[in-house]
Each structure stands twice: as C-alpha cells, then as structure tokens.
Symmetry: C2
C-alpha cells in the first residue's frame, strides 16, 4: 500500500433467509450499521463500490452502485464490481485503488446478495454464470457438480477418506455457535455430514454452503484512522473453465494472490493469526489451505483434526454463516478485523474466490 488504508466502519445483516427484505433493504441495514460504527459520518463518504453477482437474475436489478448511493443523503459517485463469488474481494480491491490513487479519501464498500426470492433451480443456473457458459454449462454441470469432481479427484490422489472430510463442515458449524450473524448457529456432529443427502458424489448437503440473503459493508479511509488497516489487497485470475487447467486439486489463482499478498504486507505466512477462507464446499477449504502454504498438498485436513495457533473460519465460514455470494468477501474482512481486535495476533487474512477459483482475492489486515 502506498498509503495506509484504515478500516473505519463495519456492519452487516445477519446472513439468513430474509423473506421480508429486498436487496435495497439489506444494503440499507448494513450501510447504516457501518456508518454507525465509523469515525466518519455518511457525508464523509466520497465514493461507493457495491459488490453483487445476482441482482439481475434474482431481483431484476442492475445499477446497484447508484441504488446504494441513493441511500446516502449526498449520493456520491458509485459503481458495482463483480467477479462471481469473489465480487467482495474485487470490490475491496477497487476501493483500495480509488483510495491509493487519491480519487477518494473514504469509500463505502457494500457486498449484497438476495438469493431466496427465486426458485432454487434458477439460482443454481445463475450461479453457473461463474463458470464458462459455453464450455462448462452445456454438460449439465452445476457448481456442486464441479466441486464434486474436484473432491472425487482429491480423495483419489491423496487417499482422503469421506469420514475425515467430515471434520471440515463440523468444525465450521462448531465455530458458528457464538456468531449472532451466522445463518446456522448450530453444532453438527462430524458423522452427520456424510449422512446428509448426497448432492454430487462424494459431496453431501452438509459439505455445501447454503443459499442466503445478506449484506455486509465496510468503510475504508485514508483520512479517518482506526486500529485496523488493510496491509495487502491482491487479486489473481486463472482460466475460467476448469477444463483448461493442468490440475483440479490445486488453484493457481490462490497461490498467485497469496504470494503477492505476503510480499505486499511484508510478512511471512506464520505471522497470520486468523484466517477466514472460502469454504463454498468443504473440499475447497482443504485445497485453499494447501495453496496458501499452510499445509502440504493432501494434508490440509490435519488442520481440522487438531487445534492450531492460527484460527480458521472462527466465524463459521461460508458453510455455517451462509454465503450470500458477493457479501461473503466483505463479511470475511469484518470477521478478521473483529478477531484481530480481540487477540494478540498482529495479522489476519481473508481469502475469497469466484467460480472454481478463476478469480481469487486475498486481503491481509493488520493492527495499524
């Protein structure tokens, strides 16, 4: 970072099935709460970046930048950023660029998704827009299908048993028990994971993050200081289709973004005390931990079979918190900042990807 960027305000709705709230209502609740918590007032916000993937599909609503800006008394310049489930991370990256360029001093970043207003089949089709519609979709693949293939290949390559994989979702559910914003604040025993309905062999329902409504907002500023700052903001891209890759049990974009983020923050991975990672499916958590270098290939599961110095998805992750697609990347940053404030660790990391990690965004947060 050329310029210190502070996280001055944070706010989120509960991630849940919000039948009585529109996409605008969700944004409004999280924006109000972020402004409430910030050192600045609404009028200090000089740009707005909205992260959203499914507005057109699920709410007939594009142009969410202007909609979010309309919720502020002075409707500052605004835009929407999208990269499927990594929309939150690319919006944060855009906000950092706006701040570092001097185009803005205080930027509101709102991640929002309203997913429950349309039928599950339509949402699954909309989510498939994160893959290559010409190359991947015609086969009938869905995202659970893609990650089912990835899980099957991973379990074959590394002889991971179905029973051991259960520990990922079980741990995330256990972590969520004390998170009032989580969709499922409920412990689930490991053996129940693989006993749940099969979705895409070998993945079961409880390996998959749910369909959720929710919004999360942060206010980033170069002007208003706060105890937590953004130490690194990095994006990386891989081929859109998994069919074009040499392997499906490792994601190059995560590796690239991680290398660049550690370099930007000038820290080592062992300096990281808290991580929120993108467990859209249980298998993704293991691959991501390995790609970030926290475990050797095939050994990520060991991090779920013991306690570690570094907390992993202490919030409950996508599995238990819910995964309102574009809100997730923003909510991860909020959770990492909370964790840092309550601990002695100096650094935390948010890992957010889109599609089968065709886009990966990594943000490192540090005590200022």
């Amino acid at each position: 970072m050329n310029t210190p960027i502070y996280l001055t305000g944070t706010g989120q709705t509960r991630f849940a099935e919000h039948w009585d709230m529109s996409i605008k209502d969700l944004m409004e609740e999280s924006i109000d709460s972020a402004i409430e918590s910030a050192e600045c007032t609404a009028l200090d916000i000089d740009m707005v970046v909205v992260a959203n993937m499914l507005g057109e599909v699920a709410s007939d609503q594009a142009h969410l930048g202007a909609m979010a800006a309309s919720l502020l008394p002075h409707h500052p310049p605004a835009l929407r950023a999208e990269a499927a489930c990594a929309s939150g991370a690319v919006a944060l990256h855009t906000a950092c660029a706006l701040l570092e360029s001097g185009k803005a001093q205080t930027v509101l970043v709102v991640g929002v998704e309203k997913m429950t207003d349309i039928a599950p089949g339509k949402i699954a089709a909309g989510l498939m827009g994160a893959a290559d519609a010409q190359k991947d979709a015609p086969s009938g693949l869905t995202f659970p299908g893609i990650f089912g293939l990835i899980a099957a290949r991973y379990m074959h390559e590394y002889s991971l048993s179905r029973d051991r994989l259960n520990h990922v979702s079980a741990r995330h559910h256990k972590n969520a028990v004390s998170n009032p914003f989580a969709q499922f604040c409920k412990e689930i025993p490991a053996e129940s994971i693989s006993a749940s309905a099969k979705v895409a062999d070998p993945l079961c329902m409880l390996d998959c993050s749910p369909i959720s409504d929710g919004a999360a907002s942060v206010i980033l500023s170069t002007k208003f200081e706060s105890p937590i700052r953004i130490a690194a903001s990095q994006l990386a891209t891989d081929t859109l289709s998994i069919a074009d890759r040499p392997t499906i049990t490792s994601f190059a974009a995560t590796k690239d973004a991680m290398r660049a983020a550690l370099e930007e923050a000038e820290i080592d991975r062992t300096d990281i005390g808290h991580i929120e990672l993108h467990d859209c499916f249980s298998i993704a958590a293991l691959i991501s931990l390995e790609d970030m270098g926290f475990a050797n290939p095939g050994e990520g599961i060991a991090l779920y079979e013991k306690e570690n110095k570094m907390t992993i998805n202490q919030s409950g992750g996508l599995k238990a918190c819910g995964h309102p697609v574009a809100a997730t990347g923003i909510k991860q940053v909020i959770d990492v900042s909370k964790q840092l404030k309550e601990s002695k660790s100096r650094h935390g990391l948010a890992h957010n990807f889109g599609g089968a990690a065709a886009t990966c965004g990594i943000h490192i947060l540090s005590h200022a």
Copy 2:
C-alpha cells in the same frame, strides 16, 4: 490525473446484430484489435476491467473479467464493472484508479454486450434493471417510457416542436454514413424520424438507439506513451429513480461530472473540439448538451440546426452506431481519440450515462 495515462491501443467490433458471435467472440475480436494497435504486447497487460450490463440476463454469463483474462496468454487479474449503460465509463474510471494507484501500469478495458440472443421483451425487462425495480418498474414503465415522459415534459417546458426534435436523429444518421463500425451507416431524412412508429409518445422508433451486439477495447497505460492521454475521468451519481428528483428535464449527474472533469483537465468547455454524447434517445442529446453548458436550457436543439466548431457525435452516436450497452462508453473514447488525431483540436470529451443519468461518467481526452 496524478500520473499521465495514455491511450495506447484501441479496437472494436462493428456494432450490429452478430448472430454468429458469442459474448466471448465479441470480446476476443475487440481485444485482438486493440493489442494489434498498441505500443505494448498482450503480456504487458497487467490488469483487465470488463464493462458489461446484461451478461447474466442474455448469455447466462457472469464473471466476465476472468473470461476476458482467459483470452490472454497470462490471464492477469481481472474484474467486471457495471453501472447500467454507464458501465463503460465506470470501467474506464476503475482502470484510471488502478493506474494512478500504481496497482497496474497497463490496463485492458473491454466493454461488451450481447443483446440479440434473447427476445426483445426480455431485453427490455433487463434494461429496466437500470432503474429502480421496486419504485419504477411496477408501473409498467420501460426506458422508452421514461424518456417519453422526459421528452413530453421538455417539449412542454420549452415549446420544442416534434419537427425540430427530428434533427437530432437525422444528424446522427448523417454522421454515421462514413463510419464502418456503425450499425446503420445510412442517412435518414428528418421528416422520417417522426413518421416512424410511435414507441412512447412523443418518441418514435427513430428517436431510440437500437438493440445491438458489440465490443470495444482500449489499452490504458502509464508506461507506454501515445499521442492521446486521458486528461480527466469523473463520475457522478443522482437518485436511481426519476421519481425522487426535482426536475426531469435536466440531469444533475451530468452537471456534476462535467464541472469536475473540466476542473481536473484544467480546461474550459470552449476548448473542447469533439464530443461523443449519450443519445440513448434523441431528447437525451439535447438535455446533455444543456447540462454540460454547451447550450442554455431549452436551446440544445439549435446545435443540431447549424454547423458548430465542436463536432457532436461525429461517429453517429448511439442512435446510428448502435448501443451495445456497456461497449458504448468505451467506443465513445475510441471515437474521440480518432477525431483528435485527425484534427487541430487539443481536447475531446466522452459523455456516458446509465439509467436516466443516475450515473454519469465524463472522460476528457487530450493530445499528450
């Protein structure tokens, strides 16, 4: 601009009904052509920003940043920016921020829209996502309807006759005759405009920009110099719904963006030799010229009834070139740069808005 930003490469497809091309094909043709024209190679591109509005609605395709990046050998980090019909402008603004922040030295900006693959009714509904889906859509309003209301009010306030309004589209069609990338390279007599089918009283079919497929790409760089640079990049936002505004015959976002752009470029509006403006509907051209200060309120039509020192939509504008939504803002910049290269004027301006100018982006280009 903190740093000089050069327009080193430009390329576009023809705007047309491309029944044989997908959204990926359109992007690829314009990207290849931009790289071909640039001082740099594909491998020098270190970030990609894609402007797109209707990918999810018309092509079941989100995540277009990664798709565009996949078309380059090294798939650099990428994201998609959206603000309805101003998507091109917000993508350019994002690219400028990435360059000025130092996050990138060379950015590819691709605007793309594939509109003809779905039924006109579905496209009209998708475009209505540029307005407020809760506040504006339930009445049955479409965008021709919104601009019909605006035209009716404008004609009432300023006693503009239907015959005089005809000159806007007629001039744009005349200008397009020599533009090989225009969808309609055809002169249309003024009297034919109001003789065409009524769409939303008082607007007729030939007052409206068409449904189009197309892509336009530019390569912006702080590293590779070129004869043309971006002298200003400004965005402004108004209320999303026209129902929340004190007037509908003037757009505050255009006024705000123009004031800021002239200040950033450190020029006067009389220094501008060429302008490409957002004539989604004929009436929008008049209002925009007035809001930018080139005519007094109600007198914009005079600029279409004589020849001016400043060229207006010499390309043919949205009416005659076609309006593949998010490609328009990029194509305008390409046209202004061509016009500058062929003239003695030092400055040109691209004016691009989304919805009923809920978002407005203005870019000023200058000889380097």
